[in-house]
Every structure is written in structure tokens, then in C-alpha cells.
Symmetry: C2
Subunit: 332 residues, 2 copies
DNA sequence: AAGGATGGCGTCAACGTTGACGTAAGTCAA
DNA sequence: TTGACTTACGTCAACGTTGACGCCATCCTT
């Protein structure tokens, strides 16, 4: 790209030094009203835009934030990214985006690249099993916010949803609406998230209503086809299941389709509860009962915590866990 | 962020000049094998990462590409962004992401910011009515690829889908499956895209099969609720419609739900064809017949064209229009 | 043996900006 | 009137890197 006007160009036109133009542009004070007006006119005329590379080189602030996701095509992600991007823009920062593909190696590459570009901080949806890696970056001084997972490491902030409670709510709802033979389709991916959801699910059965039987659990891939496979497996074990809680909405969709394909009516024969409340869930037929996560809130909190960390690198924020909410639609 | 090791740190440890380290790191040649090995060892030991700000300042290549979308939550977008991001990574570039919110003002802000950050080029899903604005950036030397819209401006590349043909295919499919009273739910957003789809739609009626009546058209917001509203309007005009083509899948979903809510069976009473083949469309009940756009291909082509433009700024690529394909599911 | 080419470095300046510091003119209090 | 302070600038160096160029061995050619 051709280079645009520089401080020197503006300075020459006005007849002051570049330093003075810099002061005006950054509103540092130390200039007269007359100078200010003339400089800003020249800035306008020449279409001057500060060069963030040069500025960042000296201030060690690049005005950028990294956003590392597992995979952009996860339907949970876009709303998060949009919120984060908007929040970042309000503080004058631009977003570097990169996927880690759920792979620690790739995530390391991504972080090397972001470090090279001198990002001011990073918000990351961690690849499974990479908390230590991330803690390493944080220790080296990179402001880092882990999203969607609870981590307890010094210098490593985290913002997440209370999915344990979400699982409790889902199971209780199934029990409260009269379901007695309930299965959970969990995720085989071994992250703390998974365990927490399962723990919450079982917790709801600690003092079960009369007639409730011990729940079933299968672990499958967290995808639509995984959900379908999970439902098949559960029905093989217990063809009389009447309630399902799925690890996420995609799996719930898969389970719903598989159930319908096997001749079960939803919700008459079998009720299904998902988790995440992705956009699609309200549009299904029947609409999916699910656990709503307030993603705009999570975005806002993540950026807020990150900015705290950038401004105050020594601060040690406590993990933030946001409440979740059951949304009842037609699938239960 | 704290700064990492620099060329000087590496140089001091090895006992050579920073210039030599730079040569090794960039594999420019002009160093001995012994030096190469010792430098790379030191690079490894110190965890040296080149500072892209400093490098970009002097080379005028920042190793970044801007990706400007209308809105990340458009279900059409994530797969594109993921593909673009992966393709960019292979060439060692990182993606700056920003939304224009479909607003020209905001888009201008976004471009100012990207210019400030010295991006090597930009891929943009243009906000409606901003082609002139974009042509301006291209004229000033910014390598720019417009995606999802055909533009014929010098210096401004474009990559898009043949949605005119998509509309032809959709309409012909409806006619071929015996539908005779067909409506189109168009978008009220006045971009060339919209017109092209409508033109293709009407084109299919230029030599209609016997019994086919003149098609109906409404224009509504390109959203789920817009689609529902559009279907209502169409049915008010002609309650005996038996086929619908919607501008996009979200509208098709809205139309499908509205039709079902009004007691119409899909596809028995009324057939529905969407456009885009977003992930959700295969998961609906019934599955949505729609026009599939090869988004991975579009991503790849967009990055390819952009790189050509970056390497060869004077080249003037012709607009690229990719073929589309009808996917028949249960809604027709 | 002289001349030229080549390999393997080093030196210096520059990219565009800001931090640190200097300075001249003006203001104010004692 | 003097000294201290303030305002409104300017000067210089530095951030980390690379482009341009220079230099000294070494090697080859004739």
C-alpha cells in the first residue's frame, strides 16, 4: 500500500514541527488555539491518519486485541465475536481474529503471530487442554482473558457461564414436567466444561422425585451427527427414555431429528433440552427448550476485564461466572 | 505488553551484528552455515519473534489483511470468514476483523482504522451503496476485493456468486415440480444483488409451462420475521400460491413457519425454496430446498485475488462469478 | 601476479512516531 | 527588578527493523 500523509507533511504545510502536530493530534496540550485549528485543518486537507505501526513501536501499544476462537463456524461463536468487536471498537481498538481449530499446536502458532503483531491483549476460547500454555503467555506479561471456561491461574483472567447450574436447571425442568427416565448426551471432549455440565446434571438427581430413575449418560462428538448417534445409543440401552439433556444445541438438534426418524414424537414421547440457545434453536420445529447464555453480556465482560488487565497488568481478577437461564419452547 | 527479545539481543549473544541476524531470520543469504546455526540457536533460546510493527514500518508490509463484514451474526458469514482466515494464515498473514453494520459511515471508520494499521489489503462485504466509497480506497492504492457483489470498477476486484442463475434454477425447479402460482419474497435492501435475483426469477417465466401464472413479488427485510411478513403479504394477495422463492434462507425459514402457522402444509400445499444453504437449512423440518453457494471456494478465490493485487498492484482483475447449485430437500 | 568476482559480514540511515528535555517569550509575585 | 513559573513551541534520540552500501578476505581467471 502507498503511504499516506505523515506528521511531517502536516507540519510542513502548517509551518510547525512534527512534534507539535503530534501534540495536537493526540490532544496532549501545549499548543495554542490558533495552532490547533490550523493543524486540524491541514490534517483534514491531507487526510492524515496516524501510523499505528510507528506509534505502537514506541508506545508499546498497538491498539489491537487478539480474538482467538476454536472455530468460527461454531454457531455459538459469531454473536460473541460481534459483541467483542463492537466493544473493542468503542475503545478504539481493532480485532485480530484467528482460529485455533481446537488444536494446541495451532493455538501456539496463533499466539506467536499475535505476539509478533504486538497485540495489547487477547481474548481466547481455549483449545482443549491448553490452559497451561495460556498461563505461560500470561506469565510473560500478555494480558489474557479466557472465555467460556473457568480457570484459576494467577495473571489469567476468565469469564464464563454457570453451566453447572444450567445442567441443574435443565434436569430439574425435565423432572418437573413429569419425565422420569432421562438421558444426557454429553461431549467426549475432555475439558472442564464437560465435567461441570455432567456434574450439574447428576446433582439434580440427588433428591429425585418419586418414580425418577437413575439417569443415563453417553459421550459423543459435540456435533449434530454426534447428537443423533448419542440418541441412538441411549435408546438402545433404554428404549423407554422420555427426556434428554444435550451438551449443546447442535447435539440436541441431532437428537431431535434422530428421535423423529425413529418414530418418537417430540415432545410427546420424548422431551429434549439443549444448551446455548443458538439462533437456530428458536426456528426449529418444534422450537428447542434450552439454556440461554447471555452472550452479549459475556462479550462485554470479557472486553472490560481485558482492558482492566491492559491498564493494570498487576491486577489479578477473580474468575467471573455469569448466570444462565432456562428458555422453555416446544420441545419439552 | 512487555517486549520480547530483539535482533540486537540475539546478535549480542551470538557475537554478530543485528543485520546478520536479520539476514538469517529472513533467510536472505549472505551468511555462513556456522553462523546460521548459531543464530537460530540463539533465536530459539531467547524466544525471539520478529516485531511486525518495526518490520512493517520499513517494508510497508504489515502481514495483515482486513476482513470487513456486514455483521458477523449473519449466518452466511462465519463459514466465509473461517475460510478466509485459514487461507490467509497459509500465506503468513493475520486477519483484522471488523463489521460495517451495513452502514457507510461505519464502514468509512473501519477503513480509516485499517489504513492506520497499514493492512496489506482488504476483503469486504460491502455495506449497501458504498461501491463508490470502496472504489475511492482502491484508487488510492489499497488492494481491495469486494465479495458477494459484482462490481466493475478499475482497481477494484470482485468475487461473487451467480445468483441470477440461482434464481433461475429456483424458479425452474418450482415450475418443473408442477407449481404454477409462484411468489418471490425479495429483499427491500436496494443493492445490485437484490435486483439480480429478481431478474433471474422473472427470466424463468419468459417461456413458462402451460398453466403457469404470472409470479408475485414482495420486498421485505431480509430476516426471519421479514420472511414471515412477506409470506403473509403474498397470501393476502393470492391465498392459492403453491410455490415460494425467498431471497435468502432466513427469509425462507420465516416463510415456512408462517405458512405452517397459517395451516398450510410444506411442501404439500406450498413449496419453498431458499437461497444460500446456510448450515441451519439442512436441519429444519422439513429440510429446506435451497441454492447452495460454495463458500469455501469463494473464500479461497477472494484471498487468491487479493494476493495477486498485493503482489501486482497494477493488475486489473476481471470480476469473478462463481456457479451455484440447487440442493433439493424436503420443502419442495 | 594482477585484476576481478564473490562470500560474509558490518555500518549507517531511514521508516513515522513519541518521550525527554531544552528554550525563548511572557506572566507574576515580592 | 529579579527570580520563579508557565506557555508554546522545537530538538534530539529512540522504538526494532531493513535497504543501501562498504569493506575485507578469499578465490578464480588469465
Amino acid at each position: 500500500m502507498p503511504r499516506g500523509a505523515t506528521l511531517r507533511d502536516v507540519a510542513d504545510r502548517v509551518g510547525v514541527s512534527p512534534r507539535t502536530v503530534s501534540r495536537v493530534v493526540n490532544d496532549e496540550g501545549g499548543f495554542s488555539e490558533v495552532t490547533r485549528v490550523r493543524v486540524l485543518e491541514a490534517v483534514e486537507d491531507l487526510g492524515y491518519q496516524p501510523n499505528m505501526l510507528a506509534r505502537g513501536l514506541i508506545t508499546h501499544r498497538s491498539g489491537t486485541v487478539g480474538l482467538v476462537g476454536v472455530d468460527m463456524t461454531d454457531p455459538f461463536f459469531p454473536a460473541m465475536a460481534e459483541g467483542i468487536q463492537n466493544a473493542a471498537r468503542e475503545t478504539g481498538r481493532t480485532i485480530f481474529f484467528a482460529s485455533n481449530d481446537g488444536d494446541s499446536q495451532r493455538q501456539a502458532e496463533v499466539f506467536r503471530s499475535l505476539w509478533s503483531h504486538a497485540v495489547d491483549g487477547v481474548i481466547v476460547f481455549p483449545a482443549p487442554g491448553t490452559i497451561d500454555q495460556l498461563a505461560g503467555y500470561a506469565r510473560r506479561g500478555m494480558p489474557l482473558v479466557v472465555v467460556d471456561d473457568i480457570v484459576e491461574f494467577p495473571n489469567l483472567a476468565s469469564v464464563s457461564f454457570d453451566l453447572e447450574d444450567g445442567a441443574v436447571q435443565a434436569a430439574q425442568h425435565l423432572l418437573a414436567t413429569g419425565r422420569r427416565r432421562i438421558g444426557m448426551i454429553g461431549s467426549e471432549i475432555t475439558v472442564p466444561r464437560t465435567r461441570r455440565r455432567e456434574r450439574g446434571f447428576y446433582q439434580a438427581f440427588e433428591s429425585p422425585p418419586v418414580g425418577a430413575e437413575l439417569p443415563e449418560l453417553v459421550r459423543v462428538q459435540p456435533t449434530v451427527s454426534g447428537g443423533a448417534a448419542g440418541l441412538q445409543k441411549l435408546l438402545e440401552r433404554r428404549p423407554d427414555l422420555d427426556g434428554i439433556f444435550a451438551y449443546n444445541d447442535l447435539m440436541a438438534v441431532g437428537a431431535m431429528r434422530a428421535a423423529q426418524a425413529s418414530g418418537y414424537r417430540v415432545p410427546d414421547d420424548i422431551a429434549i433440552v439443549g444448551c446455548n440457545d443458538i439462533e437456530m434453536s428458536a426456528l426449529l420445529n418444534p422450537g428447542l427448550t434450552t439454556i440461554r447464555l447471555d452472550r452479549p453480556r459475556l462479550s462485554a465482560e470479557a472486553i472490560r476485564v481485558l482492558h482492566e488487565l491492559i491498564e493494570e497488568p498487576t491486577s489479578n481478577p477473580t474468575p467471573l461466572v455469569l448466570p444462565v437461564e432456562l428458555v422453555i419452547r416446544e420441545s419439552t
